[in-house]
Amino acid sequence: MPTDYKHTDDAELFAMLAQSGMDSEYAFRELYRRYSGRMHAYCLRVMGDREVAEDVFQEAFFRFYKSAQKKPNMTNVPGFLMRITRNLCLNAKRDKRETVEFEDWQYRVNPDSVEKSELLNLVSTALELLEDEYREAFVLREYNGHSYNEISKIVGDSVAAVKTRVFRARKKLRSILKPYITDIERNSKA
């Protein structure tokens, strides 16, 4: 893969996705390198379940690529990708609710998470205890590093509403994790 693709801007790469040949693949590879981590973090922390999150993640990139072939002009590529990912997450959550509503009081940590430190398990599990809109706002802000304006555009609510959600999410997480804050601090300094 040509190294100069690393300096090619998103819009140009997006346009290349509609082209034939290896250019399309190289462009996709570069865009995947740039945004897969952020999208994955969003899927994982919003959905909670790694298996479901990775299904959504795969589908998002698939649809992203197919959309680019139909409409190759896009100025805000990460925003477009984020929108696709978010819609898929919302759909997945809706589908999940329909089938397991009767036991949605119970959250389970994915067995994969045993591989991580238990502290992170605890935080990710605590995230699952937040209401969906709070969790999403928190993830977009703290994990994906979006500004409040960007979050506002992604979720389609006012900046003030988004800020309130992030602030409340932090407070709720703090109250849930309060017994473990000392451990968190100790671990983060280790």
């Binding site: 897969s36 922390r45 238990e118 605890l122 990710s124 605590a126 994990y143 804050i181 100790r186 671990n187």
Partner: protein, 434 residues
């Protein structure tokens, strides 16, 4: 605008200078606000540590590319090694050292030849028997060669275990044979009959095969003395522990410091099977807290299995290879604002292996041997160690009452940090030998 809101704006870098001064002034005088700031910063730190969330699995990446007909990026073949490098290296090193220690026998204490009888334990018994004979003024030299053979066979055929009462019983029965043989002018056949009679007495304790092996050793073949009866013991040892650091004291995993509960625990079951100087010690323990704290509702349980393959190096020192697996079920509930209780659950588990050493402070032939036990082991997070002190009390033959105080200090490495879990427990139970 309340100070908590100002604090959140400050965290986001959106606080202007004038409000910042106001916030700092509040922080100086308001300890609750300082605590909130401290907690929110800690929360942000842990999010920053959550690197794995940003890394799609190789499977997911491959699926994306293959679905589009592209060549998947090559996965790093060393990625898993890098992930578990510390655990792999420390485990391998520990295992190698332990294996060497296990095999290394500079004092010649280990079992020799094809038999399973520990010459050391047999030797210890012989020494004791000899002492008894000498103390009693018996003239072993007066024994005929055949009589000495009978005595030697009775000694060698002694099934040796770490169980003091068995050893004592054997010593007693054999010494009776010695005395009888030494102090009377009887024929070889009479001596054999006497020895067999005594052998039968303690053979009943150990099972019929013991009797048969002793009988064979005397009458038929000297090599038959190498046949050691198999017997086992099962003990139930409920343990009450009071831990000074966490519920799962004495058990090893990274769960320490994550879920700290002060309380008491109940455990455990214990079974073992002995082959002469070798002992397979299988332990199971389970515990759950009796006192719940900190969260709205919680349930915890620990289940652990471990096996230690012991070899006697002397009547005081045992060495073994150890392995175990421990799993924790943790579930705790949090009441949401809408009143619903939601629960979180996780099932961390850890596998460990290494070596164990047990040193009896007095002789195992005593009725109440005191022991110290150390396990050096490793798990995927790094090395770990356990130390404990305890006592056994065996006043009966088949049925042994066991009671002791177990002090234990476990410490292990996790993420370049040393964790300790001191605990003090009372163990009690019964051992039934068959």
């Amino acid at each position: 605008m309340d100070t908590s809101h100002l604090l959140q704006l400050w965290l986001d870098g959106d606080l202007d200078v004038s409000n910042e001064q106001q916030l700092f002034a509040e922080l100086a005088s308001d300890s609750a606000l300082r605590e909130e700031m401290h907690d929110l910063l800690a929360l942000r730190e842990v999010v920053a540590m959550d690197h794995s969330a940003y890394v799609p699995s190789d499977t997911a990446t491959r699926a994306v590319f293959e679905r589009l007909g592209f060549t998947p990026p090559a996965a790093s073949p060393l990625s898993w090694f890098g992930k578990y490098k510390q655990g792999i290296l420390s485990s391998t090193t520990t295992a190698a050292i332990m294996l060497l220690l296990f095999l290394w026998d500079p004092m010649g204490w280990g079992p020799q030849g094809e038999g399973l009888v520990s010459p050391t334990l047999a030797g210890a018994n012989e020494q004791i028997l000899l002492d008894q004979v000498l103390d009693q003024g018996s003239a072993q030299a007066e024994m005929t060669p055949n009589q000495q053979h009978v005595v030697a066979e009775a000694q060698v055929s002694t099934p040796t275990t770490q169980r003091s009462q068995v050893a004592s019983q054997l010593s007693h029965a054999s010494s009776m044979a010695i005395e009888t043989v030494a102090q009377s002018d009887i024929s070889n056949s009479q001596a054999q009959a006497i020895s067999q009679e005594n052998a039968t007495d303690f053979g009943d304790v150990l099972g019929g095969s013991t009797e048969a092996s002793i009988e064979n050793s005397i009458v038929e073949s000297p090599n038959a003395a190498q046949v050691v009866p198999v017997f086992g013991s099962i003990s139930l040892t409920p343990t009450q522990e009071i831990s000074t650091s966490d519920l799962f004291s004495g058990n090893t995993s990274v769960r320490d410091r994550v879920h700290t509960v002060r309380g008491a625990a109940i455990s455990s079951a214990h079974a073992s099977n002995s082959l002469g100087s070798e002992l397979l010690d299988v332990r199971h323990s389970s515990s759950m807290p009796l006192i719940s704290t900190r969260v709205d509702a919680e349930a915890n349980s620990l289940n652990g299995f471990s096996a230690i393959y012991w070899r006697a190096r002397s009547h005081k020192f045992w060495f073994g290879l150890a392995a175990g697996q421990e799993a924790v079920y943790q579930e705790y509930g949090h009441k949401r604002d809408d009143g619903r209780m939601v629960s979180m659950a996780q099932f961390p588990s850890v596998f460990w292996y290494g070596a164990a050493a047990r040193y009896y402070l007095n002789s195992t032939l005593d009725e109440t041997p005191l022991y110290s036990e150390m396990i050096l082991a490793a798990n995927r997070f790094g090395p770990m160690t356990r130390l404990s002190l305890g006592a056994q009390w065996s006043p009966y033959q088949n049925l042994t009452l066991q009671a002791g105080i177990d002090g234990q200090l476990s410490f292990y490495n996790h993420q370049q940090r040393l964790y300790t879990t001191p605990s003090l427990g009372l163990s009690y139970g019964v051992v039934f030998k068959f």
